[in-house]
């Protein structure tokens, strides 16, 4: 068995797409974790969606064995993390399980918003950090400039940064040697009572409930009876194993080691992330601090397109939540959309991914409502309610004031787009906190109301900076806002799923914009349709969708029947993608599209 002094635990962190997963590929390959035949690009991104989009969604852990230049054998536990801001929670858990980080920076792009966010998290948990300047094979790579940038912007010594190309297999040995020589080994007492951190848990259709653990003290063995310190439930360990990256059984995990266990755990909710696993017969006295729970920041309604699929949707959500504990859902009823669920997500990409998985893995077509943030409604009777759904807003006479979540956003952009970025932030009620330059890149820090950001801010940012800006944010707290609920009425009936909460000053503009968009989104129908936006009883904008003028086939004889029937079927199919509201068919996409703000 390898001594604890020869174990290194590290996370690979970076801005999105800077090459974390590709670097993990090379490390796995050099250490012989997979044969060349088994290897493929970003082998750890094994979810279909990850492969298709080329992004990491779920952190992955691999144990490698490396014989260093000093002739000794080391165990390297690698955690590849996602780069996207929505999955920052995955990163923070990985960081908690390690002693060091490989900070990957794309040498052609330099430091970006998530580079900063992630490295600061790593510094906060006292990680030893090894900077890696990746993609030096690219003609546009400027390792020296990026080295300076790391020192200037992050304040991290980059003189020892390793120049590498994960793609072209340059500098990989140097990375491995740096891990061995620069990162500290874990510490732990093999004789102390078992104390293991429950880093992650998910449901594997073949293996059942999988629990990823990092042993702090003691030894975790097969057959042992363990206790979960938070839930106080005890289970028998049926299997102990490591990912190499293929799951492989071993006898035990000692202090400092990482691996998985299967225990007699029936549901993922019994394996709570952040819990401390201990020996049932000789429990530890104090539990590990655990993690801050992940909080949903964005909520939206998901409704089955086919009302008959409500139960299917519930089952699908239950199944999905088995391996993604970070989203929440509860039943919701909408007059416009019927029975569905109000779901909470870590961010928009997370929301998109869950919707996509529901569609692909469960064949469910859904109508999604526009995302909303969580408002704090302070009522006149002193009660405070968290509002996830604009449709549930209490009567204004019972509201004393409303608070909305604010974020601190960090945006990095080439300075030529700075003007556009500042304009965008101002439009969205932003308050500038800081503006600094590093070379020809500007870094701005803004305070912004989350509801101005949640929906299409990132799209707009990309479009005004031609894709060159990067963005990261975290919630800083709640502030009172001048907020009103704008209802949308179709033929005088309010459509709850289109209601939104906006800043009072913008209400009229937004109301008008929504009516205008709806007018384009709702196809002409047999009768004319009146669209209105209103605050309380006061109409602030109106539009009309004219009635269908003419829709009749001029020629229809014996030979045309089959084709006309097909057209009828297509028409019916199209109608299925609509939601009936009174006499009006509203396309499912309208519920999301209508609220987009667009360019003006």
């Amino acid at each position: 068995m390898v001594p604890i002094s020869n174990i290194r635990n590290f996370s690979i962190i970076a801005h999105i797409d800077h090459g974390k997963s590709t670097l993990a590929d090379r490390l796995i390959q050099v250490c012989g974790g997979l044969t060349d035949r088994e290897m493929k690009e970003q082998v750890l991104d094994n979810m279909e969606l990850e492969r298709e989009r080329g992004i990491t969604i779920k952190a992955q852990t691999v144990r490698l064995s490396y014989t260093a230049k000093d002739g000794q054998e080391y165990i390297l536990n690698l955690m590849d993390t996602p780069g996207h801001v929505d999955f920052a929670y995955e990163v923070s858990r990985s960081l908690a399980a390690c002693e060091g980080s490989l900070l990957v920076v794309d040498a052609s792009q330099g430091v970006e918003a998530q580079t900063l966010a992630n490295v600061y998290h790593a510094i906060d948990v006292n990680h030893e950090i090894v900077p890696v300047l990746n993609k030096i094979d690219l003609p546009a790579a400027e390792p020296d400039r990026v080295r300076t940038q790391i020192e200037d912007v992050i304040g991290l010594d980059a003189s020892d940064a390793i120049e590498a190309s994960a793609k072209s297999n340059i500098g990989i040995e140097d990375v491995l040697e740096a891990l061995v020589n620069r990162l500290p080994p874990p510490q732990g007492d093999p004789d102390a009572p078992l104390k293991a951190m429950l880093v992650d848990s998910w449901y594997d259709p073949y293996l059942g409930v999988m629990t990823l653990v990092r042993v702090i003290d003691g030894v975790l063995k097969k057959g042992m009876k363990v206790r979960m310190m938070a839930t106080n439930a005890s289970h028998t360990v049926e299997r102990v194993g490591i990912f190499g990256p293929k799951p492989t059984s071993i006898d035990a995990l000692g202090p400092g080691e990482m691996g998985f266990i299967n225990a007699s755990i029936k549901t993922v909710s019994d394996a709570k992330i952040g819990d401390t696993i201990t020996d049932d017969r000789r429990p530890a006295e104090v539990a590990l601090p655990g993690f801050k729970p992940s909080v949903s920041v964005v909520f939206c309604g998901l409704f089955p397109l086919d009302a008959g699929e409500f139960t299917d949707l519930r089952e699908a959500l239950e199944k999905l939540s088995l391996n993604d504990a970070s989203f929440s859902f509860e039943a919701e009823t909408s007059a416009a959309l019927g029975f569905g669920f109000r779901c909470g997500f870590l961010g928009l990409l997370h929301m998109e991914i869950i919707r996509e998985r529901l569609f692909r893995e469960f064949n469910l077509e859904l109508i999604a409502t526009a995302p909303s943030v969580v408002y704090h409604i302070h009522k006149t009777d002193g009660e405070m309610v968290s509002l996830h759904n604009p449709a549930d807003m209490p009567d204004v006479t019972r509201i004393s004031h409303i608070e909305e979540p604010w974020i601190e956003a960090t945006i990095m952009t080439p300075d030529e787009f700075l003007g556009a970025v500042l304009t965008l932030c101002t439009e969205r009620r932003g308050e500038q906190i800081n503006l600094t330059y590093a070379g020809n890149r500007a870094m701005v820090v803004y305070k912004l109301p989350l509801n101005e950001v949640v929906f299409d801010f990132y799209d707009r940012l990309k479009s005004v900076t031609k894709g060159y800006a990067s963005f990261d944010y975290h919630i800083t707290g709640y502030r009172t806002g001048e907020l009103v609920k704008v209802s949308i009425l179709v033929n005088s009936d309010p459509v709850d799923a289109l209601a939104m909460i906006v800043n009072k000053e913008q209400a009229e503009t937004r109301g008008r914009a929504i009516c205008g968009r709806l007018k384009d989104l709702i196809p002409r129908q047999m009768f004319k349709i009146a669209l209105q936006a209103a605050i309380g009883g006061k109409v602030i904008a109106r539009e009309t969708v004219g009635a269908l003028r003419k829709d009749v086939t001029a020629k229809c004889y014996g030979g045309d029947i089959t084709r006309k029937k097909k057209l009828l079927e297509k028409q019916k199919e199209g109608k299925k993608r609509m939601r009936q509201f009174g006499n009006v068919d509203i396309p499912q996409s309208a519920f999301l599209e209508a609220l987009k703000m667009g360019d003006n």
Binding site: F527, R549, K550, T553, G558, I561, L568
Partner: protein, 399 residues
């Protein structure tokens, strides 16, 4: 029961002199056509169908030579085909035998011969009385030539129908109404007035896609449609179908067969048929010979069709038994085109209870809203309903 359906024969002649840019019919341009061989093949196919669908002695109400341009046929060939029809089925004196014709001078010369070989009704594709429009429509004749052909046709045939296309790019309502006024003085008892439609796969459609052609807006074409209905009505024509107007007793009996979802067989390349019969087993294991409405479709390409007929006696490429539900859909979709509407009980007799194919709540709602009219079991479109009938039908049918 169902044997009582009217029965017609459709013959498809798939050749034209030139392809018109708006046309999506199964028509092909050929230097030469072995007419005798095609004529014989049509007869062979009719014989096969007569036997296969047990049609011996079934009374034929109507025969229609369509295309393509059947007026390019040698009159003797139409004569032989008419002869075969008389031989195979049972024919009465009042049978309607229509030939579609293009009004070129060449074809005009042949009209008397067609009459002598069995044709008794002519459907003349004049399309426009305006030379500029005719050339836009890619037609091979001028307005004067067409009027000459019409005059000859009227001398030869008791029943002449004329076809026009309107709602052309740049055409104003006034332009068209002036032309329509002239059309109404031509002394015909049957008019087919079609709004120009961009059919998939046609030259016009690809022009429109490239922005080279723009058809009138819905508003304008609606106005033209309404005016057309009004003027024809004032001139004593009954708008018995969306685009067809007839004086008393002059409706096209043949086309009524389609709109009333009756029975017909279709011979020739791409021709389709619908016929109540015992279904032929599809394979040796399929011993069911259910009685039902069969739909047939012949191979489209003329050479392929000819090949199949030569080898197997028929060019039928598809033959299916229609479900009762599919029949109901067809009966409603086609029947509502007629001013007389549909008889719901009659469709129920063949297709089962209405609630399986008709959304009766929607029907009630649209009756109340003035788009439909139901009286004594007859369901009709109102004038408003007619103009948006595709959407409306989609709303009331249960597919």
């Amino acid at each position: 029961m169902t044997d009582m359906a009217d029965f017609g024969v459709y013959i498809h002649w798939p050749f034209c002199q030139k392809k018109c840019p708006y046309c999506d019919f199964n028509s092909h341009v050929r230097e030469t056509v072995d007419q005798a061989r095609y004529g014989q093949a049509i007869i062979t196919e009719l014989e096969t169908m007569a036997e296969r669908f047990h049609l011996a002695n079934r009374p034929v109400k109507s025969v229609f030579f369509g295309g393509g341009t059947p007026s390019l046929m040698l009159p003797e060939i139409t004569g032989e085909i008419c002869g075969a029809i008389k031989r195979l089925f049972s024919v009465t004196d009042d049978i309607e035998i229509t030939l579609e014709a293009n009004p070129t001078s060449v074809e005009a010369e042949k009209l008397a011969a067609f009459r002598d070989h069995g044709i008794n009704r002519l459907s003349l594709g004049i399309q426009s009385l305006n030379d500029r429009h005719l050339s836009f429509l890619g037609r091979q004749h001028s307005a004067n030539e067409a009027l000459d052909a019409l005059a000859k046709a009227q001398q030869v045939f008791d029943r002449v129908s004329i076809d026009f296309i309107y709602a052309l790019p740049d055409q104003t309502t006034a332009d068209w109404l002036a032309e329509l006024a002239d059309i109404l003085t031509l002394g015909c008892d049957h008019l087919s007035l079609y709004q120009l439609t961009l059919e998939p796969g046609t030259a016009f459609t690809s022009m429109a896609k490239r922005g080279l052609l723009e058809i009138p807006s819905d508003e304008l074409s609606l106005e033209m449609f309404k005016e057309t209905q009004a003027h024809c009505k004032a001139a004593g024509f009954h708008a018995y179908e969306i685009s067809n107007h007839a004086k008393a007793g002059q409706m096209s009996r043949h086309n009524l067969i389609y709109w009333q979802a009756d029975d017909w067989i279709g011979a020739g390349p791409g021709a389709v048929g619908r016929i109540w019969s015992h279904h032929m087993p599809n394979s040796e294991n399929d011993h069911e010979t259910n009685y039902g409405r069969i739909e047939t479709r012949c191979r489209k390409h003329p050479d392929g069709w000819l090949d199949d007929v030569t080898k197997t006696g028929s060019g039928i490429a598809e033959e299916n038994q229609e479900t009762p539900h599919a029949y109901a859909i067809e009966a409603v979709m086609m029947g509502l085109r007629l001013a007389d509407g549909i008889n719901i009980a009659a469709i129920e007799g063949k297709a089962g209870a209405r609630h399986t194919w008709l959304d009766t709540d929607a029907v009630a709602r649209y009756c109340q809203q003035g788009l439909l009219n139901e009286e004594a079991g007859i369901l009709k479109l109102t004038e408003h309903g007619k103009t948006i009938m595709n959407t409306l039908i989609g709303e009331i049918l249960i597919l």
